[in-house]
Subunit: 370 residues, 3 copies
């Protein structure tokens, strides 16, 4: 299949209207937001898929409300936890029940305030879960499915030790997710990254395939690596790797699932990456390193994550290399090439399987201008 | 009267089209701008109701011109006072008469320049007054009424000692003015402000009324205070004030007038607050503390303002508490409740009595989206 | 000729539609960009007339490509010089020939990548030259004329020692160019500039003429200076220069040419100023001081430029005085006066002689609003 020709001839920008309209994300899924340890006594504002949300820890649970008092539009995240099970707006003391968002009291209008309980002043609530050290929020219409049904299995093991790192980044969530799905760029952009410096590194890969998993939830990537110097007719020999590259060398096996999850298998541990859209053109880079380990091994694992993996993986490779690209990309328009079959498969997958449409879908991106 | 129902059912956003179009202010009134002591030898640029204006002190008077040379659009505030009674543009030496804005000379075209005195190069002038330590400018069409006819009487007393403080703030001038008119928020937002920490503090108020003054210029607020803990069916008892609250306790009596003036009576002194719109979404918070006092008492009064009132009133209560709210409010849409009858009365007042329409009225705010 | 009346009566904004649409510059000309010594081993991004361009020094020549990889829109200026004569995109190793922009290799798709050489992935190239210590780029359609045909003759002399200074500034390139063409402002704005402090300084000038040069390439300015105090009927005597002004005193003779070049003759040296548009509302201020000198005199000339001329001319006069004005101007609308005949002649010249239209012409500026 000549992917390049197919892509360039048909105008790639109009092939995935739902995917391309989802500039602020795909609703109907659970999204990770903040590390659980950051949510303490004070209400915490977050933005997910363009919606402003306030998280509150109360009575051993985590709750989420739309972060806007319907009265005059003051953020509820500036409010106080005046009574158990409620959040009170800082401005006039409008007090909302955390479990359903109903106005339980309007303090400054007295106990007989006629506005309490009215439907027009109810605040939207969101299902939340605390898992793997992260607060998860369901953003979408209708009831939330069990969080477990959407999580990578690695996070659900009884002896899994999951260590999250979260940072907000500039860049469209889809460019970040496609960068994860794409293997080819690793061959050039990441060729000299310290994390892989001593490994045998493929020159390129062939037979890239994206295949649905047995349970239909995952899109799994496979390919064949080609090693060693290659002769390019026009420019000469590449790559010219030094003799120090000896270790390892196999391709990273990975799999993607909706809404924006990429799971990569490293030796002995798994890297879950979720690209949570915040507002248009920005996303949270949520990375959860997970390993099955008990007892003192857990401490060693944490040490390894907070030193080696944090520096070489998170900061150098994910932030400086990938993060730079996602910020710098100015696309569409685009001209895809053979390895982009992985990206095309991912876009097709989203187009066909996304459970909900955006509430107010944005128009597709502008057509190509080259 | 069920204010809440009335407001929410009819779509509050379309009830006051003139008021809602006045995003950059209501023209036809005197507005305070800068402390008089700040205007010295150099021309001073200010922005009022979206108009750029240059203030000049010359020959014992204060003058105001539109801050733009008609020649090539250079700000006159960058110019020099080259000759008495005129202001000269820094670029080509076009020299304007302060009293009427006429082009008196175009220095770099020589004494016979044919452009002098032409109507198309006349600069708009504004009436100004210096009073209560502040420069006031009339912004609007036609001749200015006497400043005295628009000032609070407290500022006109012969023994009044007025002390102004002015700062520019983010936020729509109407949200700031409505916050002043609204009494209910004080019961919650300001409950713990240091200024009122030792006073008996009402839980809420009833019978809120806004009544026109005898002279028809003012809208006066009255209400009845309810003190002591209240039992709210859904959430329990509130407030739970400590036993240290003993002093005072009566409601602040205040009154509003066009264009954006709020006067509050404190024990022994008066606080005049004027919310001068600068450009859309920003305003000057002009506060003039005034007391009738003579001789050494004046010095004590100044000391009290520059220490206690400045810190507890201006900075903590007005800037950190009210100023935060005005910046954070994201309205409309809105859902009003019973105490908002004060705000509704104020909007009706403006809608009916504003003397002039904005020169280029902005469209009403977008309708509610909840 | 009563220029003022003509200008103000007809609505100046609609008299030069091509000139006024050229907000991002006039295409079809060579433009200076960066000092040649700044372009070393690393690709250097520049913006000219709204186009993002990457400059590369390779094999003794300078090359310029459009700074965007057609694949996914990553800037080529982030790329590497992996093979001679090419530039490789940092993301997937797409490798472009510098001389024609063709895709010579797509490294991460292997030597048999079918996308190489396809027309849809060719990158636009630009003609470049290195001259007078500056990199020049031709921006426009079709083949570039010889650079020499567009340069001031002073830069082409065999013994010319040219010293460039370049800085990016806020402000429309046309306002900067018109400020150079305009002589009248010097009489007021620059009256006290240190550079001219001890010189006899005209009060104003008469008989301003802009005349085409014999070769039809230049528009040459001439005028007659009027010295000494003048009596202005309305305001009195001006100027009142101190007795220290004795030296020199003649008018600066200068000439303009398309696209945005102004050449001023000083005693013993020449100042070439080119206002290269970068993006709308910004420009490069390119100043090349040039003198015919050989041997040790060249060193003295460089010393003089880097001390005296740099401080008094470049920083004080050109940056603080002229640069401030160009940033502060808020025009159109405008009301021209008699000396603006020079600006009007320049606009007419551009309107008639500009060789190309902007690719996507912007609409004319808004009409006057006074």
């Amino acid at each position: 299949m000549d992917t390049h020709l197919a892509a360039s001839d048909t105008g790639v920008e109009s092939r995935w209207p739902r995917y391309q309209g989802a500039r602020a994300g795909v609703p109907g899924y659970w999204y990770p937001t903040v590390e659980a340890r950051r949510l303490k006594g004070r209400p915490l504002p977050v933005t997910l898929l363009g919606e402003k949300i306030v998280l509150v820890r109360d009575g051993g649970s985590v709750w989420a409300l739309n972060d806007r008092c319907p009265h005059r539009g003051v953020p509820l995240s500036a409010g106080r936890r005046e009574f158990p099970g409620t959040l009170t707006c800082i401005y006039h003391g409008w007090t909302y029940r955390l479990r359903d968002g109903e106005l339980a009291a309007a303090l400054t209008d007295g106990p007989d305030s006629p506005i309490c309980g009215k439907a027009v002043v109810r605040v939207k609530t969101y299902a939340t879960e605390e898992r793997a050290g992260v607060i998860w929020v369901f953003v979408g219409e209708g009831p939330a499915p069990p969080l477990e049904s959407e999580l990578p299995a690695e996070l659900l093991e009884e002896d899994a030790v999951a260590i999250p790192m979260i940072e907000e980044r500039e860049g469209d969530w889809r460019l970040a997710m496609e960068n994860a799905v794409d293997e080819a760029h690793a061959r050039y952009l990441h060729r000299r990254t310290p994390f892989a410096f001593f490994r045998r590194f493929p020159a390129f890969q062939t037979d890239i395939k994206m295949t649905a998993s047995a349970d239909g939830q995952w899109l799994e990537r496979s390919s064949k690596a080609v090693f060693g110097p290659q002769t390019f007719a026009e420019v000469g020999v590449w790559p010219k790797d030094g003799p120090w590259r000896r270790a390892g060398g196999q391709m990273v096996v990975g799999r993607a699932r909706l809404p924006a999850t990429w799971v990569a298998h490293h030796k002995g541990w798994t890297d879950c990456q979720i690209f949570t859209p915040t507002t248009e053109g920005r996303h949270l880079m949520v990375q959860i390193a997970v390993k099955r380990v008990r007892g003192p091994g857990a401490l060693l694992w944490k040490l390894r994550v907070w030193t080696y993996i944090r520096l070489l993986h998170r900061i150098i490779l994910n932030r400086w290399e990938d993060g730079f690209i996602v910020t710098a990309m100015n696309a569409p328009p685009e001209r895809l090439f053979r390895p982009d079959i992985a990206i095309i498969a991912w876009r097709n997958w989203c187009e066909r399987l996304a459970v909900q449409q955006p509430a107010r879908p944005l128009p597709p991106m502008p057509s190509r201008q080259d």
